[in-house]
Amino acid sequence: MFKKILIANRGEIALRILRTCKEMGIKTVAVYSTADKDSLHVKFADEAVCIGKPASADSYLNMAHIMAAAEITNADAIHPGYGFLAENSKFSKICADHGIKFIGPTPEMINSMGDKITAKKTMIKAGVPVVPGVEGLLESVEHAKRSAKEVGYPVILKATAGGGGKGMRVVWEESEIQKAYETAKAEAGASFKNDGIYMEKFVEEPRHIEIQIAGDQYGNICHLSERDCSIQRRHQKLVEESPSPFMTDDLRKKMGEAAIKAAQAINYESVGTIEFLVDKHRNFYFMEMNTRIQVEHCVTEEVINYDLIKEQIKIAMGERIVGKAYFPQMHAIECRINAEDPYNDFRPSPGKITVLHQPGGHGVRIDSHVYAGYVIPPYYDSMIGKLISIAQSREEAINTMSRALSEYVIEGIKTTIPFHQQLMKNEDFKSGNFTTKFLESFRMQ
């Protein structure tokens, strides 16, 4: 049993982790940069240690400072949350070297899924369907042309060293391939210092459907069904829901089994998520694995009545997974509330929250670290809270979300609440008719 957990994160996830620790009777240590000294989780933690200046590199990404804080407080485990050091295999190793349990996977597991080409190879070996493509890096325009003929147009060129849209080009026919290859290579080189490009079949109008999994230290893996995260803007998720409006019982069974196979292939320990692309024919393809707890984990928690953070901590303490598969019993939708102005291209809007009134009532969950008088620092991401609605049907979950959004008052900064309000009234969203392309044609009224 852990006596004390150091939370190596900030904002809403730090508060989330702290809440479960409190319920489990585990003492908490909050670490914070000077910009976060008034943060809610700092106020609620049993102990708090200031670990550096506001810039992430000086604080939340500074492994030496975090380890020093763990040392002076005698923490026996560290929860990395998401982002920051959560998928940093070096940090996982440093914790192990110091006898402090990293609440997450081992360095080897993180590395096996961190490199995209290695991850893909591992999945092919495990019999998990992957996006059809050509093995290895493209060596020339001629090689690209031959590969594209093999795979079949349309194809997508991708950078091996990074994502976020850089070094990515969709090619619809052979006449475009030379230019696409050359510009993708140049862009990848400039963005990641590595101009390696590989090719995959371009999955048209895909849905992003991911499967939550959990694995213990004894090789047992279970899955907790899907979340649909197709509503994305520039590859950033804005809304997530479970079950997916596109899911069928058969597809869920197949994807769940594939996700378990993927986790078993690396003997995965802790909670994680396998992300799939699903095309209009309901063919699904492995995209990547996130070896951490995710922002949208709350959606699964509400439809399956499961505390994923508690599960993570229990797994880290050596407890066994019970069960093989968990299915949604309810319908839940999550809207990420960001300090951004949706009327001005989602420009960030840090500043002081002067008035705050959060919604409540049946079927409403809020995971948020802000309060009236709180100043949102400009150094970190803009998410200020997650609003989740839970109901027995998708239609009711949308109605509950609309109602909750109409009660949500935040003044002093701009937020994406108006965007979510309009989205909940959108006919395509309401009918479940959307892919990852949806927000490209969505306009604020």
Partner: protein, 157 residues
């Protein structure tokens, strides 16, 4: 004094950092106060002849700005400088048990002079003073944990 003159006065005061102005004319007295910043100068007894174009002295702004956080002491009115911890770890006043303390209250300390050790993960780091002056107070006990930016010493320059 008519309403227009009073309006002009109010406009004028809003543009300046004058906190309060009192004018007496023909036995009538008017005092106009700025709501926001109860400021430094109170100007009284402007002769009525100057009503059309009153003169005023702009209030000094410097006195009301808060002292820059880094250098000023949190409690006293003197000009003390705080040496803050640049790292997280355990604070030690000497290089080892039985060894002499780096500094004591009353000692002169120079720039670059070691004032304490902060130990983290078995590495001992000598912390050097960035200022020159006299040690007025030691704020942390020997062998206790310190965090980033924690005040360690008060120095009188």
């Amino acid at each position: 004094m008519d309403i227009k003159q009073i309006q002009e006065l109010v406009k004028l005061i809003n543009k300046t950092s004058i906190g309060e102005i009192t004018i007496e004319e023909d036995g009538k007295k008017i005092t106009i106060k700025q709501k926001k910043d109860p400021s430094q100068k109170i100007i009284t007894n402007i002769p009525a002849a100057q009503m059309a174009a009153p003169t005023y002295a702009p209030a000094p702004a410097a006195g009301s700005t808060p002292p820059p956080e880094k250098k000023e002491s949190t409690d006293s009115t003197q000009n003390l400088i705080t040496i803050k911890s640049p790292m997280i770890g355990t604070f030690y006043r000497s290089a080892g048990p039985g060894k002499p303390l780096f500094i004591n209250v009353g000692d002169e300390v120079g720039k670059g002079q070691p004032v304490c050790i902060i130990e983290a993960m078995k590495l001992f780091n000598e912390i050097e003073s960035e200022v020159k002056g006299t040690i007025v107070k030691v704020l942390v006990e020997d062998a206790s944990p310190v965090e980033y930016d924690q005040p360690l010493f008060l120095v009188e320059p």
